[in-house]
Amino acid sequence: MVTDPQPPRWAEMLIERFAPKNFAEEIRGDLYEMYLGDVKQRNHRVARRKYVWRVLGFCTHTFFWKQPTQQNRYNMTGSYFKMAKRSLLANKVTTTINVLGLVIGIASALAIISIIRFEQSFDTFHSDYKNTYRMVRVSGGDVAEFRTGIPYAIPPAMKDVASIKKMTKLEYLRGANVDVLSSDGKFERQFIEEDGVVTVEPEFFDVIDFAGSPIQWIAGDAKTSLREPSSVVVTRAIAQKYFGEENPIGRTLRFQKAYDFKITGVIEDFPRNTDFPFTMLVSYSSMPLLFKERMSDWVSSNDGHAVYVVLQEGVNVKDVEAQIAKLHEAKYRKGFVKLSSLLSSATKRSAF
């Protein structure tokens, strides 16, 4: 015996707390004596296990739960329940109305609580979500009326803003007409996706990293699968819908009857409580193929083109906004619509 042997504390407390007052001492004494015997004969671990086992044995006996009789003399709990039951049965209509009302009330409260919890859980599982902002565009000073689209030429110019730790841009394309091509390039089947199609950069998964949600890559990874132009990553649900049990990697999907994208990765379905409800992720490097000269445009913008940034801890958002505004003004001088960028904490609830 190296250490001073002690039976499990919680089991001792169980006896102390629940055993009839006048019996607790002898029960604990007997248990301790047997415990020491076990330690001597076997070892500490066996003794502790046996101790717990014996305590549980006591819990199965009725005498263990009986309190000394004179304490029970004035205990009316039983008759209170009996009275409650009888008076409820005596007024059946009122009882029904009251109980139903209570049931509906409690049920609605629970439903509201779970809805609010769901709403508040949106995009809180990214590791740096408190410092993650979505860039929006405002005309004049009215912050409430913002647009989500950021002109394509702005994000590359923002590389030098020091307080931006990470940045990613994406273009939400929404729906697409998708043709599945066979391995030798012939048309096989057609699907119409109403939403979920997006182009993202590999860095998307640095900014919006889903660290706290069970999402994971089934095939491929963020760094390689989304780098090359004309690559597309699909979710598990899409892979199953298009290919069943077949391996989707390397197969070609033709979008809008015009653009061929090769499947380079499969990712777990995105959680429901996210503002990024994507099902097909096309590599952002395919953007020049899709939008050509508009990519260098400082004026026009597409509402689907969103930019997310992660700021350094403790940076003043107003300063960053001012820096971006200055950058923008330097490049853009024509002066009919004045854009000023605004960072808002819009990772929450600003739907596409």
Binding site: E26, G29, L36, H61, F64
Partner: protein
């Protein structure tokens, strides 16, 4: 005394052990004696339960004994057979003897 005695089989054995041990009859010593005498291993909680039933029925009485180090300074409850308990044991034995005598006479 009521005419009918109710004494369970385990209760009877434990009552016998209390009588056998004499001055130092408490939970652990009764369980040990029971194992030595009959080879039966029963849990300590069952011994306690039986002792409480016996006390309720008036077959044994108890008082708190001295504390000792090997019990972590806790006292034991020492049981002692009552006259009524002893009478009951004898009665049970007599009834059995009588029956046995008749069996052998057949």
């Amino acid at each position: 005394m009521s005419g009918r005695i109710y004494l369970g089989e385990l209760e009877e054995l434990i009552l016998l052990m209390v009588a056998l041990i004499g001055t130092d009859a408490y939970g652990v010593s009764i369980a040990t004696a029971l194992e030595e005498q009959t080879g039966r291993v029963i849990t300590i909680s069952a011994v306690h339960a039986a002792l409480h039933r016996l006390e309720d029925k008036g077959f044994v009485k108890s008082k708190m004994g001295g504390a000792s180090m090997e019990r972590g300074g806790r006292r034991k409850r020492l049981f002692q057979i009552t006259t009524y308990g002893r009478q009951t044991l004898e009665e049970v034995r007599d009834v059995r003897d009588l029956i046995w005598a008749q069996i052998q006479n057949i």
